[in-house]
Amino acid sequence: TSAILCQSQSCLNDNPPSRMECPTCNKLGIRGSFFCGQDCFKAGWKTHKLIHELAKNPSSSTNVGKSSDSYNPFPNFSFAGTIRPLYPLSPRRTVPDHIPRPDYATTGTPFSELRETGPPRILNSEEIEKMRTACRLSREVLDIAASHVRPGITTDELDEIVHNATIERNAYPSTMNYRGYPKSVCTSINEVICHGIPDQRILQEGDIVNIALSFLSQGYHGDVNATYPVGKIDEDSQRLIRTTRESLDAAIKICKPGALIRDLGKTIEPIARANGCAVVRTYTGHGIHELFHCSPNIPHYAKNKAVGTMKTGMIFTIEPMLNLGTNWSEIHWPDNWTATTVDGKRSAQFEETLLITETGVEILTAGR
């Protein structure tokens, strides 16, 4: 490796090869900030520290808020990428009284989920019909939200659209107050893996955004999400979106009575790897019916010990999250919800709710 010369623009020693590094740059992951000595470093400090500021606060055009007083609530957090939360969050939206609520609507705690034990439920035809409706409508609402995705709209505005479309259909937006979640939909932009909270940030040309919503109707939940391009996106993002959808479709294809749940990850991960993506591990697919999240548990990665064989009448989601690159890990923002990649690279997700039928599988959330 070639020697790195002193980076100071006002070096008194003629910019010799240097081995002393700026500790702040080291911490921020900025490479090559070498100086020949402390005095030289001090002399050039005013200029040098701008590099730190640029790294900590990406160009103001990346995160623009709708109102002029929008702000980042976590200025000291070490964000992995360039997306920042932009507060204030809009006030909690109300759900009309006539719409039946889940048990967590008041306290946030999903008691019925915590009480649930035993193997995955098998639904009868009446219950399945209700799931069909809930899922069909959830796709309907997702499509409506998707039609509004464009540069210039905020994620909060998307939340309003989803919320209103949901209550218009006499349904409860399942995410609202689930374990305290404040909104009716999750909007996850770029390096955000999942559970992004709708806020003041305006979508930019080149962004990718996942819209994830869940829909409680007649006592049954539907769960669906998709990642959409905002305007024209780069090739890596196209590849990411395409690969994620492809891996979900391949997993759906193997679903039928007798298929093993642990084999879904075996189908998804090779597709991801072949296309330079990593499969997120800690978030999984799940059973769904009267409970938002229940058994079975569906890992999306290959070597897993998932328990369970698919049976007719079983309903669950498959919702792979793929990150560009090789890092499948995640970090959480201080809001205790938003999960992002560790290296700032982008992440995409697609989800469907599936019913195992006698002959195979029915995608309950299928678009028309």
Partner: protein, 414 residues
Amino acid sequence: MDSEADDDIPELISAEPDEQSSSDKNPIAKRVPLTIICGFLGAGKSTLLRRILTERHGYRIAVIMNEFGDTADIEAKSITVDGESTTLELANGCLCCSIKDSGAAAIESLMRKQGAFDHILLEATGLADPGPIAGMFWHNEEYIDARSIGSENGIVLDGVVCVVDAVFGLKQMEEDHADKEEGPGESLRQIAGSDVIILNKVDLVQSSILSATELAIKHVNPVAPVYRTVRAELNLGHILGIQAYSIGQRHLSALKDQHELQHDHDHDHDHNHDHEQGNNLSSSVVPHYVTRGISSLQVSLPPLSATQFAAFDAWIRTILWENRLLDSVDCLASTPDSQSKKSPLQGNINVLRCKGLLILTSGEQHVLQGVRNMYEIIPVDESMKSEFPHAGKVVLIGKGLGEDVRHSLLSAVG
């Protein structure tokens, strides 16, 4: 605003000489072994803990006292390292739809801040059954990937140690074998779920009682080595770093014949082996309570063809996931009512732990590991293949493991 003050200029640091790739910034993730210590009340767990901390002085050993049952309650727990206690906090970030165990996440979060430990001891006082916690940490290993850049130090389940009181142990086990509503009692579940058993206070007890106790232990768990100790004194290498959930040599040796196992013991205490009893577990008088409580089943298997190997997987997953035997009529298209359909011959089958070595006709060897309804079968590396077994062997520990289970397995792979 967090802009740096002009007079707040940091000191330059020496750059690392190795600059080949920017991704080498992260240190190699460490795999930190975790041992669960359970056992009868007053048997000597605390003595054992103190001994470990004293002998392994100089190692960073974290001790967690887990008085409340399962690790999900772990937020208010204290963790002691080098005599200093910290409180474990729930990891940052809501883990909804994340099935990562919050206890494991809390420990990992602490290691991010304080650096990796050399070993973690989870002292499970009042824990009726180590199985679920062991399962959770074993499952948690799916989130470690040493190749993944940026992965943090991962917890690896090293094994479960059970301390049995030689004075009261046998009586405790007899009581616990009684047919209760909720199933077999604590002491049996602890023995069933352990990978190594310490029979402590042997100096206070007659040799005949010791033999009877050991026999009772082995009826429940024939594969966990039993070490007789005084004041919990033993070679720590027998209980730490045993890699009971991996496929190391130790695992393979655990499936050796009982007879060979006895000789492998490294006792710190002089006594007489009772070879007769060690060899003939099946022919000696089986205590009457064994059939109602927890017992074990050992089945030898011939080398299997690929088809038979697949059949074995179908058999084991049926018994582990559905608590039933694989009939010829398998319920794929279950109706809501048929879920509890079981052959009337089958009692309540419940496998708590399973281990096995499978030999294939192709020469491949595979290792079976399982706790509760979670299991995996993984190929043995060429370098670690055992030279000795010509036959495969499967050991099941749990309830309802009668001869019908043996027959079912043999006919499934036959």
